[in-house]
Amino acid sequence: MTALLEVQNLKTHYRLGGWLSLRRLLRAVDGVDLTLKSQQTLAVVGESGSGKTTLGRTILRLVDPTAGRILLDGQDISCLSQARLRPLRRKMQIVFQHPYASLNPRKRVGRIVAQPLWVHRVPGDHRRQVSELLGRVGLPASAADHYPHEFSGGQRQRIAIARALALRPDLIVLDEITSGLDVTVKLRVLALLRELQAEFRLAYLFISHDLSVVRTVSDRVAVMYLGRIVEEAPTEALFERPLHPYTQVLKASIPDPAARGSWNPPVLGGDAPSPVNMPLGCRFHPRCPLAQAICRDVEPELRELAPGRRVACHLAEAPPHPALSPSMGRG
């Protein structure tokens, strides 16, 4: 299988401040490499400020990258003009975080879902296609005649998914799409995503802050910290044995209802430093419980410790047993 999406040393920096004010550089995405194969799900996990949302938007070129390459089906799209990019938008779509902001409140659902069809001059009866799409995400065809505010958060996310599906893309970036939903609704949406992935042969870039959600949907997980990927591994391997100290802390921070009374979350020093003044050396070293001298001075590379397992930590060691084969899915 070839890679559907390949990102090489991608950087997105923002200039803060302007005329007469102190110019500072916000390094939202700062050297990311990743690969996503078709019909697979790669989860990008990180806390606020890790750059995961900017990464998703840069890959779709909603934000312009500062450096690096984005290969979609082998074609470098990182420097294409917006006009040249337009036909390629059929291959990649996005679903956003806020179900209440991602649908134009003044347009009926039918027009919202049909918009990609007429923008790209898709032939055929758009009305019929829209009702099919709505039906596919579990909404009645009559939903097309209503306005977004008449729907609940979960239903709106379904509408947004239907819009993303309209052009039959190969890749959908899912940006925190479940973070505003209640747990029972969230589970239902995740189940729907799995069904759609098989049916439409989709690859997902699943961006989330929630490790527990990620576990149920993704084949591989990349953990981001301050603009970089610090660990990437097959999902089960990562959950069984996280190798980067940050991943370990992240995993241990989630209270597990099944293990009542035994939760003892690790203590990190202070709050995360901001992407505006990045620490030298390893980005995690000021908070890392294991930090040593080398971590203060040298930024670790993302090393392949086992097949399919990459970690950016000087101290991490390969797991004693070979990890699961890299391309195999959720265990």
């Binding site: 005329w19 779509q93 996005i94 806020h98 003044r106 918009q115 990609p116 923008v119 790209h120 819009r163």
Partner: protein, 276 residues
């Protein structure tokens, strides 16, 4: 319909009715002078039914003049508002959507424009252009397009960050289609409210300009010039000044009520105060 909106609509309809029907409603030619019947009081003060609201110091029928003035008010209100909106809205849209240098330049221009007091600018323009209805409208438009530009820009700045705008970019819509299809429909309530308030302002400015003799032509009756004329004989005939003032106040308040009523109905969270 809330009471404000109701009041605004009723006053607005009456005004339009008066403006359209003025030639048929008026008992006299508004400019016909009758020096034998000057400063006659309204009927309830002992005047004759021939001049229901009395006459001015040249013996012209006040009711006729008031009704004809309504035409000027309506024309100025509609003309100036439409033109100001047509100029200001695209500027605000483009400025807010593209941001960056273009926005900086456009907004500096607006700032500069607004640092000359509106009244002074209007008077200066009229002094330069000369009197006349179309010129009044032009002067008001030149002064007030900034109001639309500023408020629309502010709203666009907020709207463009909403995810549905990003979603249409992800679909592949170009910037101008995004403005037309995604942003503009969301600006409609704001525009409607702004336009109603602008009509109130335009009527006020026209009256002001005519009051100082820099408004419509002398032959055209206008509340502003009637107020100025009535002021001269205030102590012998208070109605000469008070009646046009009343008409003006009712009109302006009516348009304001319309604007506020519409805001409450369409979107109570709209911030339009900065537009005044």
């Amino acid at each position: 319909m809330n009471p404000k909106l109701l009041g605004g609509v009723v006053i607005g309809l009456l005004l339009c009715l008066a403006a359209v029907l003025a030639p048929w409603l008026t008992p006299h030619d508004p400019n016909r002078q009758d020096l034998s019947a000057i400063r006659q009081p309204p009927v309830w003060m002992g005047g004759a039914w021939d001049h229901p609201l009395g006459t001015d110091s040249l013996g012209r029928d006040l009711l006729s003049r008031l009704l004809w003035s309504a035409r000027v008010a309506v024309m100025v209100a509609l003309g100036a508002t439409v033109c100001a909106a047509v100029i200001g809205t695209p500027v605000g849209l483009v400025s807010g959507y593209f941001r960056g240098r273009l926005d900086t330049v456009l907004m500096r221009v607006v700032d500069v424009w607004m640092s000359i007091p509106a009244v002074l600018l209007a008077i200066a323009l009229m002094a330069v252009l000369g009197v006349g209805l179309l010129k009044v409208i032009l002067a008001i438009v030149l002064v007030d397009w900034t109001r639309f530009a500023r408020v629309i820009r502010g709203e666009v700045l907020a709207l463009r960050e909403r995810e549905f705008v990003e979603a249409s970019r992800a679909i592949g819509l170009g910037p101008f289609r995004i403005m037309a299809e995604e942003l503009l429909p969301n600006l409609v309530p704001l525009l409607i409210v702004l336009a109603s308030l602008e009509m109130a302002i335009a009527v006020g400015v026209e009256a002001l300009l005519s009051f100082v003799g820099l408004g419509v032509e002398a032959a055209v009756p206008s509340w502003g010039s009637m107020i100025a004329e009535g002021r001269g004989y205030l102590l012998v005939g208070w109605w000469g000044m008070t009646l046009p003032m009343l008409a003006l106040v009712v009109t302006v308040v009516g348009f304001n009520l319309l604007g506020e009523g519409l805001r409450e109905r369409l979107d109570p969270r709209l911030r339009t105060d900065a537009a005044r």
